[in-house]
Protein backbone atom coordinates (compact mmCIF):
# COMPACT_ATOMS: atom_id res chain seq x y z
CA UNK A 1 0.00 0.00 0.00
CA UNK A 2 1.48 3.35 -0.93
CA UNK A 3 1.66 6.20 1.53
CA UNK A 4 -0.24 8.37 -0.90
CA UNK A 5 -3.15 5.88 -1.04
CA UNK A 6 -3.24 5.66 2.74
CA UNK A 7 -3.38 9.44 2.87
CA UNK A 8 -6.28 9.48 0.41
CA UNK A 9 -8.31 6.68 1.93
CA UNK A 10 -7.95 7.61 5.61
CA UNK A 11 -9.73 5.43 8.13
CA UNK A 12 -12.14 8.25 9.02
CA UNK A 13 -12.97 8.85 5.35
CA UNK A 14 -13.67 5.15 4.77
CA UNK A 15 -15.81 5.06 7.89
CA UNK A 16 -17.96 7.94 6.62
CA UNK A 17 -18.24 6.21 3.23
CA UNK A 18 -19.42 2.95 4.77
CA UNK A 19 -21.68 4.60 7.35
CA UNK A 20 -22.64 7.99 6.00
CA UNK A 21 -23.92 10.37 8.71
CA UNK A 22 -27.07 12.47 8.27
CA UNK A 23 -27.99 10.31 5.29
CA UNK A 24 -31.69 11.03 4.87
CA UNK A 25 -34.25 13.11 3.10
CA UNK A 26 -35.89 15.12 5.89
CA UNK A 27 -39.66 15.57 6.13
CA UNK A 28 -39.19 19.31 5.81
CA UNK A 29 -36.32 21.56 4.77
CA UNK A 30 -35.70 25.10 3.50
CA UNK A 31 -33.09 24.51 0.85
CA UNK A 32 -32.34 21.61 -1.46
CA UNK A 33 -29.63 21.39 -4.07
CA UNK A 34 -28.39 18.67 -6.38
CA UNK A 35 -24.79 18.02 -7.33
CA UNK A 36 -24.35 15.67 -10.27
CA UNK A 37 -21.18 14.54 -12.02
CA UNK A 38 -22.73 12.49 -14.80
CA UNK A 39 -19.43 11.35 -16.32
CA UNK A 40 -18.37 9.54 -13.17
CA UNK A 41 -21.83 8.97 -11.69
CA UNK A 42 -21.43 10.80 -8.39
CA UNK A 43 -24.73 12.32 -7.31
CA UNK A 44 -25.51 14.15 -4.08
CA UNK A 45 -28.69 15.90 -2.95
CA UNK A 46 -28.16 18.22 -0.01
CA UNK A 47 -30.98 19.41 2.29
CA UNK A 48 -30.67 22.39 4.64
CA UNK A 49 -32.99 23.54 7.40
CA UNK A 50 -32.26 27.14 8.34
CA UNK A 51 -33.03 29.17 11.41
CA UNK A 52 -32.31 32.70 10.29
CA UNK A 53 -28.58 32.83 9.59
CA UNK A 54 -27.93 29.51 11.32
CA UNK A 55 -27.90 26.07 9.68
CA UNK A 56 -30.12 24.04 11.95
CA UNK A 57 -29.76 20.76 10.11
CA UNK A 58 -27.90 19.47 7.05
CA UNK A 59 -28.61 16.05 5.56
CA UNK A 60 -27.94 14.38 2.22
CA UNK A 61 -28.85 11.51 -0.06
CA UNK A 62 -27.00 10.15 -3.03
CA UNK A 63 -24.53 7.67 -4.39
CA UNK A 64 -20.95 7.82 -5.51
CA UNK A 65 -17.38 6.95 -4.74
CA UNK A 66 -15.81 6.87 -1.27
CA UNK A 67 -14.33 10.35 -1.60
CA UNK A 68 -17.61 11.96 -2.65
CA UNK A 69 -19.85 10.23 -0.12
CA UNK A 70 -17.41 10.75 2.77
CA UNK A 71 -17.02 14.40 1.79
CA UNK A 72 -20.81 14.88 1.83
CA UNK A 73 -21.17 13.06 5.13
CA UNK A 74 -18.41 15.07 6.82
CA UNK A 75 -19.76 18.29 5.32
CA UNK A 76 -23.14 17.76 6.98
CA UNK A 77 -21.43 17.23 10.34
CA UNK A 78 -19.20 20.26 9.89
CA UNK A 79 -21.97 22.75 9.11
CA UNK A 80 -24.85 21.58 11.30
CA UNK A 81 -25.41 24.22 14.00
CA UNK A 82 -23.01 26.66 12.34
CA UNK A 83 -23.73 30.08 10.88
CA UNK A 84 -24.16 30.52 7.14
CA UNK A 85 -21.11 32.76 7.21
CA UNK A 86 -19.00 30.01 8.80
CA UNK A 87 -20.25 27.47 6.25
CA UNK A 88 -19.16 29.81 3.47
CA UNK A 89 -15.73 30.18 5.06
CA UNK A 90 -15.47 26.37 5.28
CA UNK A 91 -16.37 26.14 1.58
CA UNK A 92 -13.54 28.54 0.66
CA UNK A 93 -10.99 26.86 2.89
CA UNK A 94 -11.94 23.36 1.73
CA UNK A 95 -11.32 24.40 -1.89
CA UNK A 96 -7.87 25.61 -0.85
CA UNK A 97 -7.22 22.38 1.01
CA UNK A 98 -7.85 20.09 -1.97
CA UNK A 99 -6.48 22.38 -4.66
CA UNK A 100 -2.99 21.31 -5.80
CA UNK A 101 -1.78 24.86 -6.33
CA UNK A 102 -3.33 26.62 -3.34
CA UNK A 103 -1.05 28.39 -0.92
CA UNK A 104 -1.43 28.70 2.85
CA UNK A 105 -4.81 27.83 4.31
CA UNK A 106 -6.77 30.57 6.02
CA UNK A 107 -5.56 30.11 9.64
CA UNK A 108 -8.74 31.59 11.12
CA UNK A 109 -10.90 28.72 9.81
CA UNK A 110 -10.67 25.44 11.71
CA UNK A 111 -11.38 22.58 9.29
CA UNK A 112 -11.28 19.90 11.98
CA UNK A 113 -11.56 16.40 10.47
CA UNK A 114 -12.11 17.91 7.03
CA UNK A 115 -8.34 18.37 6.94
CA UNK A 116 -8.15 14.63 6.24
CA UNK A 117 -9.14 15.41 2.65
CA UNK A 118 -5.74 16.99 2.05
CA UNK A 119 -4.68 13.68 0.45
CA UNK A 120 -7.01 14.38 -2.49
CA UNK A 121 -4.57 17.07 -3.67
CA UNK A 122 -2.29 14.43 -5.13
CA UNK A 123 -5.14 12.97 -7.23
CA UNK A 124 -6.16 15.57 -9.77
CA UNK A 125 -8.93 13.42 -11.25
CA UNK A 126 -10.53 12.93 -7.83
CA UNK A 127 -10.70 16.55 -6.66
CA UNK A 128 -14.10 16.92 -8.31
CA UNK A 129 -15.39 14.02 -6.20
CA UNK A 130 -14.44 15.77 -2.95
CA UNK A 131 -15.72 19.18 -3.98
CA UNK A 132 -19.10 18.13 -5.43
CA UNK A 133 -20.98 18.25 -2.08
CA UNK A 134 -19.35 21.59 -1.27
CA UNK A 135 -20.49 23.18 -4.50
CA UNK A 136 -23.93 21.75 -3.79
CA UNK A 137 -23.73 23.52 -0.41
CA UNK A 138 -22.82 26.82 -2.02
CA UNK A 139 -25.72 26.42 -4.46
CA UNK A 140 -28.08 25.72 -1.55
CA UNK A 141 -26.85 28.76 0.37
CA UNK A 142 -27.31 30.92 -2.73
CA UNK A 143 -30.76 29.40 -3.23
CA UNK A 144 -29.69 28.28 -6.68
CA UNK A 145 -32.17 25.86 -8.25
CA UNK A 146 -30.13 24.31 -11.09
CA UNK A 147 -28.20 21.09 -10.65
CA UNK A 148 -24.51 21.83 -10.25
CA UNK A 149 -21.52 19.83 -11.42
CA UNK A 150 -17.79 19.89 -10.74
CA UNK A 151 -16.82 17.98 -13.89
Amino acid sequence: MTESLQKLYQRVILDHYKKPRNFEEPASFHRRSVGDNPLCGDQVTLYLSLDGERIEQATFQGHGCAICIASASMLTEAITGESVEHAQALFETFQQLVSPDAGELNPSVDLGDLKLFEGVRAYRTRIKCATLPWFALRAALNNQQETISTE
Binding site: M1, T2, S4, L5, L8, Y9, L14, K18, L39, C40, G41, D42, H63, G64, C65, A66, I67, Y123, T125, R126, C129
Partner: protein
Protein backbone atom coordinates in the same frame (compact mmCIF):
# COMPACT_ATOMS: atom_id res chain seq x y z
CA UNK B 1 1.55 -11.94 -3.49
CA UNK B 2 2.97 -8.49 -4.22
CA UNK B 3 2.83 -7.01 -7.67
CA UNK B 4 6.63 -7.15 -7.96
CA UNK B 5 6.54 -10.87 -7.35
CA UNK B 6 3.54 -11.29 -9.58
CA UNK B 7 5.40 -10.09 -12.63
CA UNK B 8 8.34 -12.39 -11.89
CA UNK B 9 6.37 -15.53 -11.19
CA UNK B 10 6.87 -17.95 -14.07
CA UNK B 11 3.24 -17.59 -14.96
CA UNK B 12 1.36 -19.82 -17.33
CA UNK B 13 2.97 -19.76 -20.74
CA UNK B 14 0.74 -19.51 -23.79
CA UNK B 15 0.16 -22.70 -25.71
CA UNK B 16 -0.67 -20.81 -28.90
CA UNK B 17 2.09 -21.98 -31.20
CA UNK B 18 4.45 -19.41 -32.59
CA UNK B 19 3.01 -16.64 -30.43
CA UNK B 20 6.09 -14.93 -29.05
CA UNK B 21 4.73 -12.56 -26.42
CA UNK B 22 8.18 -11.20 -25.51
CA UNK B 23 8.88 -10.21 -29.09
CA UNK B 24 5.40 -8.72 -29.47
CA UNK B 25 5.75 -6.61 -26.33
CA UNK B 26 9.08 -5.30 -27.61
CA UNK B 27 7.14 -3.82 -30.55
CA UNK B 28 5.22 -1.56 -28.14
CA UNK B 29 7.76 0.81 -26.54
CA UNK B 30 5.12 2.46 -24.34
CA UNK B 31 4.61 -0.78 -22.41
CA UNK B 32 8.18 -0.80 -21.09
CA UNK B 33 7.72 1.89 -18.47
CA UNK B 34 6.95 2.25 -14.80
CA UNK B 35 3.93 4.09 -13.43
CA UNK B 36 4.07 5.13 -9.76
CA UNK B 37 7.23 3.02 -9.52
CA UNK B 38 5.49 -0.15 -10.77
CA UNK B 39 5.65 -1.82 -14.19
CA UNK B 40 2.84 -0.45 -16.34
CA UNK B 41 0.01 -2.97 -16.78
CA UNK B 42 -2.11 -1.55 -19.56
CA UNK B 43 -5.62 -3.00 -19.45
CA UNK B 44 -7.57 -0.15 -21.04
CA UNK B 45 -7.38 -1.41 -24.59
CA UNK B 46 -11.10 -1.13 -25.31
CA UNK B 47 -10.76 2.64 -24.85
CA UNK B 48 -7.60 2.98 -26.93
CA UNK B 49 -5.07 0.34 -27.85
CA UNK B 50 -1.35 1.11 -27.90
CA UNK B 51 0.62 1.76 -31.07
CA UNK B 52 3.43 -0.56 -32.21
CA UNK B 53 6.76 0.79 -33.44
CA UNK B 54 6.10 -0.04 -37.14
CA UNK B 55 3.07 2.31 -37.05
CA UNK B 56 5.12 5.05 -35.37
CA UNK B 57 7.86 4.50 -37.97
CA UNK B 58 5.35 4.80 -40.80
CA UNK B 59 4.05 8.10 -39.42
CA UNK B 60 7.55 9.52 -39.00
CA UNK B 61 8.63 8.36 -42.46
CA UNK B 62 5.53 9.91 -43.99
CA UNK B 63 6.14 13.30 -42.37
CA UNK B 64 9.91 13.20 -42.92
CA UNK B 65 9.90 12.06 -46.53
CA UNK B 66 6.55 12.04 -48.28
CA UNK B 67 4.17 14.55 -46.74
CA UNK B 68 2.00 16.74 -48.92
CA UNK B 69 -1.69 17.11 -49.65
CA UNK B 70 -3.16 14.33 -51.73
CA UNK B 71 -5.02 14.10 -55.07
CA UNK B 72 -4.50 16.37 -58.05
CA UNK B 73 -0.99 17.41 -57.07
CA UNK B 74 1.43 17.04 -59.98
CA UNK B 75 4.56 17.16 -57.86
CA UNK B 76 6.34 14.14 -56.47
CA UNK B 77 5.44 14.57 -52.80
CA UNK B 78 1.76 14.86 -53.59
CA UNK B 79 1.95 11.76 -55.74
CA UNK B 80 3.71 9.83 -53.00
CA UNK B 81 1.18 10.97 -50.41
CA UNK B 82 -1.72 10.05 -52.67
CA UNK B 83 -0.23 6.63 -53.34
CA UNK B 84 0.34 5.96 -49.64
CA UNK B 85 -3.18 7.14 -48.79
CA UNK B 86 -4.85 5.01 -51.46
CA UNK B 87 -2.55 2.10 -50.65
CA UNK B 88 -3.98 2.18 -47.10
CA UNK B 89 -7.43 1.81 -48.62
CA UNK B 90 -6.27 -1.35 -50.39
CA UNK B 91 -4.90 -2.70 -47.10
CA UNK B 92 -8.22 -2.07 -45.39
CA UNK B 93 -10.07 -3.68 -48.28
CA UNK B 94 -7.97 -6.82 -48.10
CA UNK B 95 -8.02 -6.97 -44.31
CA UNK B 96 -11.81 -6.85 -44.15
CA UNK B 97 -12.22 -8.74 -47.44
CA UNK B 98 -14.39 -6.08 -49.08
CA UNK B 99 -15.30 -6.89 -52.66
CA UNK B 100 -14.34 -3.46 -54.01
CA UNK B 101 -11.73 -0.97 -52.82
CA UNK B 102 -14.28 1.82 -53.31
CA UNK B 103 -16.34 0.28 -50.51
CA UNK B 104 -13.77 1.56 -47.98
CA UNK B 105 -14.53 5.11 -46.85
CA UNK B 106 -12.20 6.93 -44.47
CA UNK B 107 -13.86 8.75 -41.62
CA UNK B 108 -12.80 10.06 -38.19
CA UNK B 109 -13.87 6.87 -36.43
CA UNK B 110 -16.80 4.64 -35.67
CA UNK B 111 -18.90 7.54 -34.37
CA UNK B 112 -18.56 9.47 -37.60
CA UNK B 113 -19.17 6.32 -39.65
CA UNK B 114 -22.49 5.71 -37.91
CA UNK B 115 -23.50 9.36 -38.21
CA UNK B 116 -22.64 9.21 -41.90
CA UNK B 117 -24.96 6.25 -42.44
CA UNK B 118 -27.70 7.85 -40.33
CA UNK B 119 -27.56 11.09 -42.30
CA UNK B 120 -27.21 9.55 -45.77
CA UNK B 121 -28.95 6.19 -45.79
CA UNK B 122 -31.22 7.28 -42.95
CA UNK B 123 -32.29 10.62 -44.38
CA UNK B 124 -32.99 9.12 -47.80
CA UNK B 125 -34.57 5.79 -46.82
CA UNK B 126 -36.14 6.16 -43.38
CA UNK B 127 -39.42 7.99 -42.93
CA UNK B 128 -42.11 8.72 -40.38
CA UNK B 129 -43.36 5.57 -38.67
CA UNK B 130 -40.44 3.45 -39.89
CA UNK B 131 -38.45 1.58 -37.28
CA UNK B 132 -34.74 1.31 -36.56
CA UNK B 133 -33.64 -1.68 -34.49
CA UNK B 134 -30.67 -1.41 -32.14
CA UNK B 135 -29.68 -3.56 -29.15
CA UNK B 136 -29.74 -2.98 -25.40
CA UNK B 137 -25.92 -3.07 -25.27
CA UNK B 138 -25.10 -0.25 -27.66
CA UNK B 139 -22.43 2.37 -27.07
CA UNK B 140 -23.87 5.89 -27.11
CA UNK B 141 -22.44 6.27 -30.61
CA UNK B 142 -24.92 3.69 -31.90
CA UNK B 143 -27.86 5.24 -30.02
CA UNK B 144 -27.66 9.01 -30.34
CA UNK B 145 -27.25 9.26 -34.15
CA UNK B 146 -30.45 7.21 -34.53
CA UNK B 147 -32.31 9.28 -31.94
CA UNK B 148 -31.32 12.39 -33.90
CA UNK B 149 -32.55 10.74 -37.10
CA UNK B 150 -35.82 9.79 -35.39
CA UNK B 151 -36.29 13.42 -34.33
CA UNK B 152 -35.64 14.55 -37.89
CA UNK B 153 -37.89 11.99 -39.61
CA UNK B 154 -40.47 10.78 -37.10
CA UNK B 155 -39.05 7.25 -37.24
CA UNK B 156 -39.10 5.08 -34.11
CA UNK B 157 -36.16 3.46 -32.30
CA UNK B 158 -36.72 -0.11 -31.07
CA UNK B 159 -34.36 -1.97 -28.74
CA UNK B 160 -33.54 -5.70 -28.71
CA UNK B 161 -33.31 -6.67 -25.02
CA UNK B 162 -30.63 -8.83 -23.40
CA UNK B 163 -30.59 -11.28 -20.51
CA UNK B 164 -28.72 -11.09 -17.19
CA UNK B 165 -25.57 -12.55 -18.74
CA UNK B 166 -25.53 -9.87 -21.40
CA UNK B 167 -26.69 -12.15 -24.23
CA UNK B 168 -29.11 -10.73 -26.80
CA UNK B 169 -32.64 -12.08 -26.68
CA UNK B 170 -32.98 -13.42 -30.20
CA UNK B 171 -36.60 -14.44 -29.72
CA UNK B 172 -37.40 -10.80 -29.02
CA UNK B 173 -35.35 -9.81 -32.06
CA UNK B 174 -37.53 -12.09 -34.18
CA UNK B 175 -40.62 -10.37 -32.81
CA UNK B 176 -39.22 -6.84 -33.25
CA UNK B 177 -38.06 -7.42 -36.84
CA UNK B 178 -41.02 -6.48 -39.03
CA UNK B 179 -41.91 -4.87 -42.35
CA UNK B 180 -41.71 -1.54 -40.49
CA UNK B 181 -38.00 -2.13 -39.81
CA UNK B 182 -35.84 -0.12 -42.19
CA UNK B 183 -32.44 -0.74 -40.59
CA UNK B 184 -30.86 -2.97 -37.97
CA UNK B 185 -27.81 -1.36 -36.33
CA UNK B 186 -26.11 -3.51 -33.71
CA UNK B 187 -22.80 -3.75 -31.99
CA UNK B 188 -20.64 -6.71 -33.07
CA UNK B 189 -18.81 -6.87 -29.69
CA UNK B 190 -20.05 -4.93 -26.66
CA UNK B 191 -17.50 -2.50 -25.22
CA UNK B 192 -19.02 -2.69 -21.73
CA UNK B 193 -19.77 -6.43 -21.54
CA UNK B 194 -17.54 -8.14 -24.08
CA UNK B 195 -20.48 -10.04 -25.58
CA UNK B 196 -19.96 -11.21 -29.16
CA UNK B 197 -23.36 -10.91 -30.77
CA UNK B 198 -24.77 -13.48 -33.23
CA UNK B 199 -24.45 -11.01 -36.07
CA UNK B 200 -24.55 -13.52 -38.92
CA UNK B 201 -27.92 -14.76 -37.70
CA UNK B 202 -29.16 -11.18 -37.31
CA UNK B 203 -28.01 -10.28 -40.82
CA UNK B 204 -29.55 -13.40 -42.36
CA UNK B 205 -32.89 -12.78 -40.73
CA UNK B 206 -32.91 -9.06 -41.54
CA UNK B 207 -31.97 -9.74 -45.17
CA UNK B 208 -34.78 -12.28 -45.47
CA UNK B 209 -37.13 -9.30 -45.38
CA UNK B 210 -34.74 -6.95 -47.22
CA UNK B 211 -33.64 -4.95 -44.18
CA UNK B 212 -30.02 -3.74 -44.30
CA UNK B 213 -27.72 -4.19 -41.30
CA UNK B 214 -25.00 -1.95 -39.86
CA UNK B 215 -22.44 -3.47 -37.51
CA UNK B 216 -20.54 -1.34 -35.01
CA UNK B 217 -17.24 -3.17 -35.24
CA UNK B 218 -15.12 -0.85 -33.07
CA UNK B 219 -14.59 -3.52 -30.40
CA UNK B 220 -14.70 -6.57 -32.66
CA UNK B 221 -11.93 -5.89 -35.15
CA UNK B 222 -9.06 -5.74 -32.58
CA UNK B 223 -9.90 -9.28 -31.47
CA UNK B 224 -10.95 -11.32 -34.51
CA UNK B 225 -10.80 -11.71 -38.24
CA UNK B 226 -13.56 -9.72 -39.92
CA UNK B 227 -14.80 -10.79 -43.35
CA UNK B 228 -17.52 -8.40 -44.49
CA UNK B 229 -18.50 -10.61 -47.43
CA UNK B 230 -18.86 -13.64 -45.22
CA UNK B 231 -20.86 -11.60 -42.69
CA UNK B 232 -22.85 -10.11 -45.58
CA UNK B 233 -23.37 -6.90 -43.58
CA UNK B 234 -24.38 -3.74 -45.44
CA UNK B 235 -22.27 -1.39 -43.33
CA UNK B 236 -19.31 -2.10 -41.04
CA UNK B 237 -17.68 0.59 -38.91
CA UNK B 238 -14.37 0.73 -37.06
CA UNK B 239 -11.89 3.08 -35.37
CA UNK B 240 -8.15 3.11 -36.04
CA UNK B 241 -7.16 3.89 -32.46
CA UNK B 242 -8.78 0.71 -31.16
CA UNK B 243 -6.91 -1.24 -33.82
CA UNK B 244 -3.40 -0.18 -32.70
CA UNK B 245 -3.40 2.79 -35.07
CA UNK B 246 -3.71 6.56 -34.64
CA UNK B 247 -6.72 8.47 -33.28
CA UNK B 248 -9.02 10.51 -35.49
CA UNK B 249 -9.19 7.92 -38.26
CA UNK B 250 -11.54 5.06 -38.94
CA UNK B 251 -13.33 3.25 -41.69
CA UNK B 252 -16.83 2.82 -42.94
CA UNK B 253 -17.30 -0.22 -45.12
CA UNK B 254 -20.46 0.01 -47.21
CA UNK B 255 -21.65 -2.37 -49.87
CA UNK B 256 -21.33 -0.93 -53.38
CA UNK B 257 -25.05 -1.10 -53.96
CA UNK B 258 -25.56 1.55 -51.28
CA UNK B 259 -22.69 3.83 -52.13
CA UNK B 260 -23.97 5.00 -55.51
CA UNK B 261 -27.55 5.34 -54.28
CA UNK B 262 -26.78 7.40 -51.20
CA UNK B 263 -26.49 11.19 -51.14
CA UNK B 264 -23.17 12.72 -50.01
CA UNK B 265 -22.53 13.37 -46.32
CA UNK B 266 -20.45 16.56 -46.20
CA UNK B 267 -20.08 18.95 -49.10
CA UNK B 268 -16.72 20.44 -50.05
CA UNK B 269 -13.51 19.82 -51.92
CA UNK B 270 -12.47 16.34 -53.05
CA UNK B 271 -16.05 15.04 -53.12
CA UNK B 272 -16.95 16.59 -56.46
CA UNK B 273 -16.42 15.96 -60.17
CA UNK B 274 -17.16 19.58 -61.07
CA UNK B 275 -18.54 22.69 -59.41
CA UNK B 276 -20.29 25.73 -60.81
CA UNK B 277 -22.54 28.23 -59.06
CA UNK B 278 -25.52 26.56 -60.70
CA UNK B 279 -24.74 22.93 -59.97
CA UNK B 280 -22.09 20.59 -58.65
CA UNK B 281 -21.56 17.03 -59.84
CA UNK B 282 -20.50 14.68 -57.11
CA UNK B 283 -17.57 12.33 -57.36
CA UNK B 284 -18.06 8.60 -57.19
CA UNK B 285 -17.58 6.60 -54.00
CA UNK B 286 -15.50 6.56 -51.92
CA UNK B 287 -14.50 10.18 -52.64
CA UNK B 288 -18.13 11.31 -52.58
CA UNK B 289 -18.06 10.70 -48.83
CA UNK B 290 -14.61 12.17 -48.14
CA UNK B 291 -15.03 15.94 -48.37
CA UNK B 292 -12.09 18.12 -47.45
CA UNK B 293 -8.47 17.21 -46.79
CA UNK B 294 -8.65 13.93 -44.89
CA UNK B 295 -6.50 12.64 -42.06
CA UNK B 296 -3.77 11.54 -44.44
CA UNK B 297 -1.15 10.57 -41.86
CA UNK B 298 -3.77 8.82 -39.72
CA UNK B 299 -4.90 6.79 -42.71
CA UNK B 300 -1.34 5.75 -43.51
CA UNK B 301 -0.79 4.89 -39.84
CA UNK B 302 -3.95 2.78 -39.82
CA UNK B 303 -2.70 0.99 -42.92
CA UNK B 304 0.59 0.27 -41.14
CA UNK B 305 -1.36 -1.10 -38.16
CA UNK B 306 -3.19 -3.46 -40.53
CA UNK B 307 0.17 -4.64 -41.91
CA UNK B 308 1.37 -5.23 -38.36
CA UNK B 309 -1.72 -7.25 -37.41
CA UNK B 310 -1.40 -9.28 -40.61
CA UNK B 311 2.20 -10.11 -39.71
CA UNK B 312 0.99 -11.69 -36.47
CA UNK B 313 -2.28 -13.10 -37.83
CA UNK B 314 -5.77 -12.41 -36.52
CA UNK B 315 -6.37 -16.13 -35.91
CA UNK B 316 -3.27 -16.27 -33.71
CA UNK B 317 -4.40 -13.15 -31.86
CA UNK B 318 -7.90 -14.56 -31.32
CA UNK B 319 -6.53 -17.87 -30.03
CA UNK B 320 -4.10 -16.20 -27.62
CA UNK B 321 -6.74 -13.80 -26.33
CA UNK B 322 -9.27 -16.60 -25.81
CA UNK B 323 -6.74 -18.34 -23.60
CA UNK B 324 -5.91 -15.13 -21.71
CA UNK B 325 -9.60 -14.30 -21.23
CA UNK B 326 -10.26 -17.77 -19.86
CA UNK B 327 -7.34 -17.40 -17.42
CA UNK B 328 -8.50 -13.92 -16.34
CA UNK B 329 -12.16 -14.92 -15.97
CA UNK B 330 -11.27 -17.88 -13.75
CA UNK B 331 -8.93 -15.73 -11.66
CA UNK B 332 -11.47 -12.95 -11.13
CA UNK B 333 -14.24 -15.43 -10.31
CA UNK B 334 -12.11 -16.61 -7.37
CA UNK B 335 -12.24 -13.17 -5.73
CA UNK B 336 -14.88 -13.01 -3.03
CA UNK B 337 -17.14 -9.97 -3.41
CA UNK B 338 -16.36 -9.54 -7.10
CA UNK B 339 -19.16 -9.78 -9.65
CA UNK B 340 -18.45 -9.96 -13.37
CA UNK B 341 -20.87 -7.90 -15.46
CA UNK B 342 -21.19 -9.59 -18.82
CA UNK B 343 -20.89 -13.37 -18.64
CA UNK B 344 -22.21 -14.34 -22.03
CA UNK B 345 -20.79 -17.67 -23.23
CA UNK B 346 -19.49 -15.98 -26.36
CA UNK B 347 -17.17 -13.16 -25.29
CA UNK B 348 -14.20 -11.09 -26.38
CA UNK B 349 -11.48 -10.19 -23.88
CA UNK B 350 -13.33 -7.54 -21.89
CA UNK B 351 -13.82 -8.00 -18.13
CA UNK B 352 -16.30 -5.59 -16.57
CA UNK B 353 -16.76 -6.04 -12.83
CA UNK B 354 -18.05 -4.52 -9.63
CA UNK B 355 -16.87 -5.07 -6.06
CA UNK B 356 -19.24 -5.18 -3.09
CA UNK B 357 -19.26 -1.80 -1.36
CA UNK B 358 -16.47 -0.26 -3.42
CA UNK B 359 -17.14 2.26 -6.16
CA UNK B 360 -15.41 1.60 -9.51
CA UNK B 361 -13.66 4.99 -9.38
CA UNK B 362 -11.99 4.05 -6.13
CA UNK B 363 -10.91 0.75 -7.70
CA UNK B 364 -9.48 2.68 -10.66
CA UNK B 365 -7.52 5.07 -8.43
CA UNK B 366 -6.04 2.29 -6.29
CA UNK B 367 -5.10 0.12 -9.28
CA UNK B 368 -3.48 3.13 -10.93
CA UNK B 369 -1.23 3.53 -7.90
CA UNK B 370 -0.11 -0.03 -8.60
CA UNK B 371 0.67 0.82 -12.22
CA UNK B 372 -2.48 -0.87 -13.54
CA UNK B 373 -4.55 1.09 -16.06
CA UNK B 374 -8.20 0.12 -16.21
CA UNK B 375 -11.30 2.19 -16.94
CA UNK B 376 -14.03 2.98 -14.44
CA UNK B 377 -17.37 4.45 -15.38
CA UNK B 378 -20.36 3.80 -17.59
CA UNK B 379 -18.16 3.26 -20.68
CA UNK B 380 -20.46 5.44 -22.81
CA UNK B 381 -23.12 2.75 -22.40
CA UNK B 382 -25.45 4.20 -19.75
CA UNK B 383 -28.41 2.00 -20.78
CA UNK B 384 -26.23 -1.07 -20.12
CA UNK B 385 -25.46 0.16 -16.59
CA UNK B 386 -29.16 0.82 -16.03
CA UNK B 387 -30.03 -2.68 -17.27
CA UNK B 388 -27.73 -4.19 -14.62
CA UNK B 389 -28.82 -1.70 -11.94
CA UNK B 390 -25.35 -0.28 -11.34
CA UNK B 391 -23.94 3.25 -11.82
CA UNK B 392 -20.64 2.09 -13.27
CA UNK B 393 -18.23 -0.80 -13.61
CA UNK B 394 -14.49 -1.25 -13.47
CA UNK B 395 -13.33 -2.64 -16.80
CA UNK B 396 -10.14 -4.46 -17.68
CA UNK B 397 -9.91 -4.90 -21.44
CA UNK B 398 -7.16 -7.06 -22.87
CA UNK B 399 -5.09 -6.98 -26.02
CA UNK B 400 -2.77 -9.57 -27.53
CA UNK B 401 0.26 -7.94 -25.85
CA UNK B 402 -1.12 -8.54 -22.36
CA UNK B 403 0.28 -11.42 -20.34
CA UNK B 404 -0.81 -13.94 -17.74
CA UNK B 405 1.51 -12.19 -15.26
CA UNK B 406 -0.40 -8.96 -15.84
CA UNK B 407 -3.63 -10.75 -14.97
CA UNK B 408 -1.94 -11.90 -11.76
CA UNK B 409 -1.02 -8.27 -11.05
CA UNK B 410 -4.63 -7.23 -11.63
CA UNK B 411 -5.90 -9.86 -9.22
CA UNK B 412 -3.34 -8.74 -6.65
CA UNK B 413 -4.41 -5.10 -7.13
CA UNK B 414 -8.09 -5.96 -6.67
CA UNK B 415 -7.28 -7.89 -3.50
CA UNK B 416 -5.34 -4.88 -2.18
CA UNK B 417 -8.36 -2.68 -2.93
CA UNK B 418 -10.67 -5.00 -1.02
CA UNK B 419 -8.27 -5.08 1.97
CA UNK B 420 -8.02 -1.28 2.00
CA UNK B 421 -11.79 -0.96 2.26
CA UNK B 422 -12.18 -3.61 4.97
Amino acid sequence: MSIENATQVPSKVSVVSGFDITRIRADFPILAQEVHGKPLVYLDNAASAQTPQPVLDALIKFYQQDYSNIHRGVHVLSQRSTEAYEDARLKLQRHFNAEEVSEIIFVRGTTEAINLVAQTYGRSHIHKGDEILISAMEHHSNIVPWQMLCEQTGAVLRVIPMDDQGTLDMEEFDKLLSPKTKLVSVVHVSNALGTINPVKEIIKKAHSIDVPVLLDGAQACPHMKIDVQDLDCDFYTMSGHKLFGPTGIGTLYAKSKWLEALPPYHGGGDMIESVSFEKSVYAKAPHKFEAGTPNIAGTIGMGAAIDYLQSIGMEQIAAYEAELLDYATKALEQISGLRLIGTSPNKASVLSFVLDGIHPHDIGTILDQKGIAIRAGHHCAEPVMKRFGIPATARASLAFYNTHAEIDALVDGIETTIRLFQ
